[in-house]
Symmetry: C2
Subunit: 168 residues, 2 copies
DNA sequence: TTGAATTTTCAAAATATTTTGAAAATTAAT
DNA sequence: ATTAATTTTCAAAATATTTTGAAAATTCAA
């Protein structure tokens, strides 16, 4: 397979993959393209290579920047802005984990803590089931939270070594 | 807070949470409601409590069943079908992990392996960056795959104990 | 069998999300 | 300051997803 074809295939699959994870197709495609591009690209490069409008590129690029996955690059003597993606996949993963934890897991745990404090007869089976389910989810969430925290702080080698040892 | 209000809050939040993870709002809500319901519910119960149509309930329930998160229950002497959700949150989590791994991670790893075998000059920086990026993603994916495999096979106590020990 | 109860299907409608593109805003060189 | 290049915004259009509801299929008791 030729590079051009492989890139196309990767970008398209990464877009489809992303959309199963609540990330919009185009944002995932832009990210994919930047990850396999050794040099920074302009908005026009992205428009052309992905066949999408300027506004679309601009919005999604800004989103990727707030996710901490893409950086603006100013090339000396160049008027236009360039964009580049973090290439270290471990950093990409920890960045995504960090953000999703902050945006989704933490608020959910906060809510669960409130819902646990429901008032009602603990003998009532509906109350009992509710409290148990909420409690169970919260417990699992806290474990995940703790695990992700440590992963994010650790560096790659530590993680790989630890995982390898732990899981044979 | 009263049970009814808390249930409503949980169901609604769980729906919103799910939609950040590629799960449709209604499916997540049905799942949430069944998780906090001690007794099995009928399609009519779900229609009424969530204010959704019969067809909607039916489709999403079937989907939840193929995910292995909900079971049909036949109550003796009853004509209608009842539905119940797995209440053990650890089993819920491993079931979801197992399915998503099968549906998404495994196919992605297969694709990455093919894309790695690209032909072209390894000196070319575009080729080099492509191969490195794909290789990095594949490596991380394989690690995740291995880790999830073990988690899914392990039981809750083992997991909690292991995590606690590993992550202090 | 028959037929009433129940479940399933799926085309059409409703809703939600994404994309476009051109106007407005910004930037920086002259 | 002026202006041309570039970026940003956002209402409208296009597209995608979800939901409805009624008809068809299925189930099961009589």
């Amino acid at each position: 397979m030729k590079l051009t074809e492989a890139k196309l295939q990767f970008v398209s699959s990464w877009g489809a993959f992303g959309s199963h994870w609540g990330i919009n197709r185009t944002m995932a495609q832009i990210h994919a393209l930047l990850m396999v591009s050794p040099d920074p690209l302009t908005q026009d490069d992205l428009m052309e290579q992905l066949n999408i409008s300027r506004g679309n590129v601009n919005m999604n690029i800004r989103d990727l920047i707030t996710w901490g996955l893409v950086d603006r690059v100013i090339l000396p003597g160049e008027r236009r802005e360039y964009f580049t993606a973090e290439k270290d996949i471990w950093k990409v993963a920890t960045q995504i984990i960090k953000e999703r934890k902050k945006r989704e897991l933490d608020p959910m745990l906060k809510l669960l803590s409130q819902l646990e404090k429901i008032d009602g007869d603990k003998k009532d089976k509906d109350v009992k089931q509710f409290v148990e389910t909420i409690g169970g989810i919260k417990k699992l969430g806290l474990q995940a939270d703790k695990m992700l925290d440590v992963m994010v702080k650790a560096d790659e080698n530590w993680f790989l070594a630890g995982i390898m040892k732990m899981f044979k």
